[in-house]
């Protein structure tokens, strides 16, 4: 099964600043009781976006001018906390296709990669510069060039870091192991055939 090669990600960006934003904040635990990830997008950052009575608070993700953004900007250690896959799924279902932050929690990074959602690390200054540009012009087109490890917007650009193994996987269309696992079908049959308990 061939997956799409992810060479660039282009779209509108939105900044949700802060350090150590954990998976619980990204998707509160109570929304894990679900049978599908489909509806998760609407609960993204639910508790920071809503008052207790469910009415929306002032939050960049509630701001219509940022509607349709697909690149999220944030701070240090983004996605820390529990390893639940609901967090990257919520971002993805909400339309995000990449995150730029100062650093990422490891499991979260891996789970995002499996969804084809690059997590690119950048310096605080560069992220602030980009956030300011987006604030001034919310429809600004931002492009993450995965191949070149760079972000382009307006006349400006800066370096980001996507670790080589993940970067190569995006470029080769092997960011989700399912493709390669499926290709090994004949080998799997061989291995299984040698194990008597696998019998039909």
């Amino acid at each position: 099964m061939a997956l799409e090669k992810i060479v660039t990600v282009t779209g509108k960006a939105v900044s949700v600043p802060g350090s150590d934003i954990d998976t619980d904040r990204i998707i509160p635990a109570r929304f894990m009781k679900c049978v599908t990830f489909d509806g998760l997008g609407e609960y993204l950052f639910y508790d920071v976006r809503h008052h207790e009575d469910g009415t929306p608070k002032t939050h960049p993700l509630n701001d219509p001018k940022h509607a349709g953004a697909s690149i999220l900007l944030s701070g240090v250690n983004f996605g820390c906390g529990s390893s639940r896959e609901h967090a990257p799924q919520a971002l993805h279902k909400a339309g995000f296709r990449a995150v730029i932050a100062q650093s990422f929690a490891e499991i979260f990074f891996g789970n995002c990669a499996t969804l084809g959602m690059p997590c690119a690390a950048a310096t605080a200054e560069d992220i602030e510069k980009l956030a300011a540009a987006v604030e001034a012009n919310p429809v600004l087109e931002v492009t993450i060039d995965v191949e070149k490890n760079r972000v382009f917007f307006g006349d400006d650009n800066f370096t980001v870091n996507i670790p080589d193994s993940a970067r190569e996987a995006f470029l080769a269309g092997q960011w989700d192991p399912i493709g390669e696992l499926l290709e090994g079908e004949a080998n799997v049959a061989n291995t299984a055939g040698a194990l008597s308990y696998m019998g039909a």
Partner: protein, 477 residues
Amino acid sequence: MSQSLFEKVWNAHAVRELSNGQTQLLIGTHLIHEVTSPQAFGMLRDLGLTVKYPHRTFATVDHIVPTQSQTVEPFADPLAQEMIEALRKNCAEFGITFFDIATGHQGIVHVVGPEQGITQPGTTIACGDSHTATHGAFGAIAFGIGTTQIRDVLATQTMALGKMKVRRINVDGELPPGVYAKDVILHIIKRLGAKGGIGYAYEYGGSVFDDFSMEERMTVCNMSIEGGARCGYVNPDEKTFEYLKGRPHCPEGAEWDTAVERWKAVASDPDCHYDDVVNIRAEDIAPSVTWGISPDHGIFVTESIPDPANESDPEKRKSIEEALEYMKLPAGAPIAGTPVDVCFIGSCTNGRVSDFREAAKFLKGRRVAANVKAIAVPGSQIVDTICKQEGIDRVFSDAGFEWREAGCSMCLAMNPDKLVGDQLCASSSNRNFKGRQGSPTGRTILMSPVMVAAAAVTGHISDAREVFEVENAAAVA
């Protein structure tokens, strides 16, 4: 060349190396439950894929089932109902065996697998649940996986995984009276830390494990993940084979004999290499309890709650302070005497027949203290049936415990069994994380079932050896 069981099983199941350097590993047995599988089936459908080896996936329902009037549907919680129905639909559509409530074989996934003889030596087992290492008690390489990996196993019967190192943990000598398998694993976790096992598979051995029953081995393997190890196992021996013989999914006749030969051969070779070896003296272990919010926050019941003032490492001091603040426990005071509100015996750690049998031995003729709510939740319908045949359920209810129906119950409180407010629970389960038992401020103290029984009877954390006048109590610890 001599090899450990881990290496033998790994090599037999390694399909090929993947481009990222990980191994494509065949998962011989896949276990699923209602909480983590529906999303994976959704992903499968999104990709237009199907279940490749449906006869190697087995399903049960455990996390969300109520433990009172379980057979009456719809459940009070519509989401719980939706989850069980999604599992029914997925199993029917793809031809997966489902131990549903009406089968009489339903229960916690880690109790059902061994009970049905699905858990076998020398196999690889994966389940979307972090306590899958329980099955390692049979000499299987068993570990918990995430939703995407459930999808991978459904679609290909394989997953991508990096090889682990192997740490051998020897517990030799003789456990003092009143010390149980739960105390052994709490002691190991305290000694090696909650993160000490990251990157390792734990091989448990030594005379204590040789002497342990299969159920005791399961208790220890179950909590490997609390020590950071995704996988933990015991080499198979005669006890393993004896336990499995005649179980529904085990081979019979001549096939049984070949299987036993194969299983014997899979045990670690005597002179094989381990990446690390840890030795523990059984005599050094006493009945243990946790005092904090991480499974490695453990002490003997005879000891005092740590005092952050005595901790020189600032980081450790901070973590003790945070734990005590949450637990609302006085620094430096003896843990024994701490009042309890709720007592829970159950879970995949300690919800098997031998756990209830042992606790019943001491509960007979005693009463749960006033103000204590005590519940006993069998790990499976079969455990429930056997306990009823032996009259164990009656011992519990006569003592003032509520005897419930099978499920995870208050281990993680995804069903109606929850702590309220800052209630403190003496629990035979495996996690004492903040809010784990259903109330954001609820407090959990982990211990063996017999220690829970002692807390239930006295109304506070107690040394079961004293309460139940266990022989030689004075001579130990």
